[in-house]
């Protein structure tokens, strides 16, 4: 078919509403990598330093920290940070593997994305078991 006879404008979405588009799994993994990274910066680093400072200062402060972190909301915060760290680490390893051109075809990329997603959830569940 001659190029001029083809419709120039195809019926595609003309806007990019992130809530209306169904994202493929690698895209979900990618945005979760960014979300988890932001969480680790905003909450993870301060909590880590605060925790190291408190737990290393004295036996009393160590016990106090343990008591503070046994509160259900504190445990949920720790669990969120644990998921963030685990997901970010696994998705990051996937990125490094993709960087050396391993598993870059669509099927492999989808499979590794679902592996990252599921393994991160399983490891987070193990942390949850340890916390409660």
């Amino acid at each position: 078919m001659p190029a001029l006879d083809r419709p120039v404008v195809k019926p595609r979405p003309v806007y990019l509403n992130l809530l209306a588009i169904r994202q493929p799994l690698p895209a979900v993994i990618s945005i979760l990598h960014r979300v988890s990274g932001a969480l680790l910066f905003l909450l993870g680093i301060p909590v880590l330093l605060w925790g190291m400072d408190a737990t290393l200062s004295s036996p009393e402060a160590f016990a106090q920290w343990k008591a503070t972190m046994s509160h259900p909301i504190a445990k949920l915060l720790l669990l969120l940070l644990a998921w963030s760290y685990i997901h970010h680490l696994l998705a990051g390893i996937r990125h490094l593997v993709l960087d050396v051109h391993v598993g870059i075809d669509l099927q492999s990329a989808r499979r590794s994305a679902s592996i990252v997603f599921i393994v991160a959830l399983i490891l987070t569940a193990l942390v949850a078991v340890r916390l409660w």
Partner: protein, 119 residues
């Protein structure tokens, strides 16, 4: 010999540097995380005495310091990318970036204090 092309005129090459430092720091953090897991499994339950003795080791303190510096550099590259993507007004973006740098420098001081501070 490679002669400089026209595209080199505007390039500061910090994109390549950021790309590489993001990956080098990631590998450092991954190795430290594995090491920490091994130590945790080796020592079993963590009470105050065990925890304190782990940090009494100079090699562990230095490894922890390198880990924390990697975290901060990695965070800077990542957060900078996020601000460049989502914060369009230049003034606000610069203010946020400066706040992030200040926080990371302060965290570095806090880290040194925690690891080597007199108690």
């Amino acid at each position: 010999m490679v002669t400089p092309g026209i595209k080199d005129v505007a390039g500061a090459h910090y994109g390549w540097r950021d790309w590489l430092s993001q990956r080098v720091t990631a590998v450092v953090m991954a190795i430290y995380t594995l090491m920490l897991l091994v130590i945790a499994l080796w020592t079993g339950g963590l009470d105050y005495a065990v925890w304190k003795s782990v940090f009494a080791n100079s090699a562990f303190r230095i490894a922890s310091f390198i880990f924390m510096l990697s975290v901060f550099l990695h965070a800077w590259v990542g957060v900078r990318n996020i601000t460049m993507d989502y914060i369009k007004p230049t003034a606000i973006r610069l203010i946020v970036q400066i706040a992030v740098i200040c926080a990371l420098v302060a965290y570095t001081g806090w880290t040194i204090q925690v690891l080597w501070g007199a108690r």
